[in-house]
Subunit: 111 residues, 2 copies
């Protein structure tokens, strides 16, 4: 995952409502949930939810498919794996993000 895509994904998750939607879809599993069920579960107006779903979809974090009159949204687990991988590699010292794994590349500063 490139930094540009990572920013898109981070931006998509950086909102209470969207994070709640995504977590709900993760719990729902690969089968996903129709928009109406999400709006109902989160007590959100349909138009507001649609706005957030479009945001998540544009960022590549969820997928959309139709089932009759309902639009089914599902979490894209591969995208999430890619994001966590990006953060681990680029924002955790390149090593595993384990707490005690402080990078040993100490640069000596000539002050």
């Amino acid at each position: 995952m490139k930094a540009e895509a990572a920013v898109d994904a981070l931006s998509a998750l950086a909102n209470d409502h969207r994070l709640a939607v995504f977590r709900l879809l993760v719990q729902a599993g690969p089968e996903g949930k129709p928009a109406g069920a999400i709006a109902d579960a989160l007590a959100m107006p349909a138009s507001s939810l649609s706005f957030h779903l479009a945001h998540l979809n544009r960022a590549g974090l969820i997928t959309q498919s139709r089932d009759g009159r309902s639009l089914i949204y599902a979490a894209d687990f591969a995208a999430m794996t890619g994001l966590v991988g990006f953060l681990t590699e680029n924002c955790c010292g390149g090593a595993s993000c384990a707490p005690s794994a402080a990078p040993s590349q100490k640069k000596r500063k000539a002050s």
Copy 2:
């Protein structure tokens, strides 16, 4: 890490400049970098950089300390570990999301 803190952290990283700053600080290691050096490395006006550093600091992702006239900023690795942990637990189906034994084996284009 709670969802509220996670949203703050995600929001802080969901910006090109701030993500670049954070990655630079991760590369710099625990010793951190003075604000001037960051501004110089990223070719950013001092006041703009200060705005973004304050944002990252408020989100708990970086720490600030003074060294003479310079303010040293350093990545807070524990906070990042917490964020990755939150994402893994809450947004990856509860199971391990990142390849648990593959830190950085894959090829990626230099960005």
